[in-house]
């Protein structure tokens, strides 16, 4: 998760708050970000699963698309992504991917329709490339507004609804994967009921100068504790969610990544996105490999890069692996040849040269707790 910085690290609007809270700050995607607070990742993980955690995800890229006269922003965006964007009703949110001509994934993103425009949230490490890609593809049809200075707070966990309702009662009625403009502490925010933890919760897009005061107000509630990127990673892995650059990248297609659920039926038939021919062929004939969940026996942790073998023959590779605090055991995900990808298949994960028995299992590892009304 850490990396060598290529220049001065950027800071989010919550940087001072992180320091006050005693965070351990590390370079991540060009930003100085909190990997953990003094309580540590295990406590932060449990806090989020059992109560409520506040994450600073302001490093992620927020982009607003507005149709130019005579154009349709959703239709335009569909030329870059396989998701059903034109079918989004105002206030609906969808998960999709930017694809390349080979069907590989150049980033994954959330798209929300406000009715008047589309709000995109893309990965921090990809946001400059994504913006250039959007500008190259959509400049004639859309006004493209990067909102990279805005704050983005994720309030996650079973008590997120209780806490955020104290600020704005209407958020309690919102369903998973919907969004709305909400006034919080006098600031106009865009709130979606979504996240990256498998928990119920919200992501709150704030004006840059409102992020810090809103974060402090949220943290003043006894249910809420600050959570770093370390627990964000262990939470998303338990939820079986892909981390871009690890579980999905330009070499994996949405079909291989088992993200076909995010491609609408009509779009599968009609294509019209980069790499559609490859994706359609894989839908029809099956992809050469598939992303699967892996449950190793014992305590050893198979991490990213560990080989997956059957009877000593390599059939795949682990793309994310770690300790699952909720389960008290190691979990992993990775890619295996499709012919070996059925649930229940016994494999070995090669950890420091030693084969560790493991089984292919369905994901998520920890049941999602989304609020669907």
């Amino acid at each position: 998760m850490t990396e060598v910085p290529a220049g001065p690290l950027k800071r989010t609007p919550l940087h001072a708050l992180h320091k006050e809270l005693g965070a351990r700050l590390v370079p991540f995607a060009g930003y100085e970000m909190p990997v953990q607070y003094p309580t540590g990742i295990l406590v932060e993980h449990a806090q989020t699963r059992n109560a409520c955690g506040l994450f600073d995800v302001s490093h992620m890229g927020q982009v607003r698309l507005t149709a130019k006269a005579g154009h349709n922003a959703a239709k335009a965006l569909e030329t870059l992504v396989p998701g059903d964007i034109a079918g989004l009703a105002p206030g609906q949110q969808r998960y999709t991917q930017f694809t390349n001509d080979a069907g590989g994934i150049t980033d994954d993103l959330m798209v929300t329709s406000t009715g008047d425009h589309l709000q995109l949230v893309v990965n921090a490490a990809c946001k400059d490339a994504d913006l250039a890609h959007i500008q190259a593809g959509l400049s004639s049809s859309c006004e493209i507004e990067p909102m990279f200075s805005r704050g983005l707070l994720a309030l996650q966990g079973p008590q997120a609804v209780t806490v955020l309702s104290r600020f704005a009662p209407q958020v309690a009625e919102m369903k998973f994967m919907t969004g709305a403009f909400v006034m919080i502490e006098g600031a106009r925010c865009y709130v979606t009921r979504s996240g990256y933890t498998g928990c119920d919760g919200y992501e709150i897009s704030t004006p840059a100068d409102a992020a810090d005061p809103i974060a402090r107000k949220l943290l003043a509630h006894p249910e809420v504790k600050p959570i770093g990127l370390g627990a964000r990673d262990s939470l998303r892995l338990e939820a079986g969610l892909c981390l871009y650059g690890h579980d999905i990248d330009t070499t994996t297609t949405p079909v291989e990544a088992v993200l076909l659920w995010s491609i609408g039926k009509e779009r599968r038939l009609q294509g019209g996105f980069p790499g559609a021919a490859v994706v359609q062929k894989q839908i029809a004939e099956g992809s050469p490999r598939k992303r699967v969940g892996l449950l190793p026996e014992g305590k050893a942790i198979a991490r990213e890069g560990a080989e997956i073998a059957i009877g000593g023959k390599v059939v795949g590779i682990v793309t994310s692996g770690g300790f699952a605090p909720t389960l008290g055991r190691a979990i992993a995900m990775g890619y295996v040849e499709r012919s070996q990808s059925s649930n229940g298949t016994k494999v070995e994960l090669v950890v420091r040269g030693k084969p560790v028995p493991a089984e292919i299992v369905p994901m998520p590892f920890v049941k999602h707790a989304y609020y669907r009304g």
Binding site: M1, V35, Q36, G40, I41, L42, H45, G230, D233, S234, K299, A300, I301, R303, G322, F323, P325, A330, R352
Partner: protein, 125 residues
Amino acid sequence: MADVRYSEEHEWIRVEGDTGTIGITQYAQEQLGDVVFVDVPASGRKVAKGESVAVVESVKAASDIYAPVSGEVIESNAALADSPGDVNTEPMGKGWFFKIKMSDKGELTGLMDEAAYEAFVKSLS
């Protein structure tokens, strides 16, 4: 009186006669974060100074532990299998990793005493 020496890789060794008890330091456990698994060496294993002999897994990453001296492993801390968090709470107590019968006590002179190690850690921040 046991003598405790420290390595630049943040291991400590408590020396009693020919036996050394080895673990990781407070600084090391703070850097690692929550420890969730420790792969300790089996008794009888002969190790050379500098050899990777154990692995400590935190939530975030796996880290190698190197033998600060050469010798033969005579005991490993079996209790860590069920309570790896001892490495965080008592890195120089219950969180010890393994004991070694040293083959060359002269190697200890290459390690730091407490004052030197404290100065070394300060130089890192």
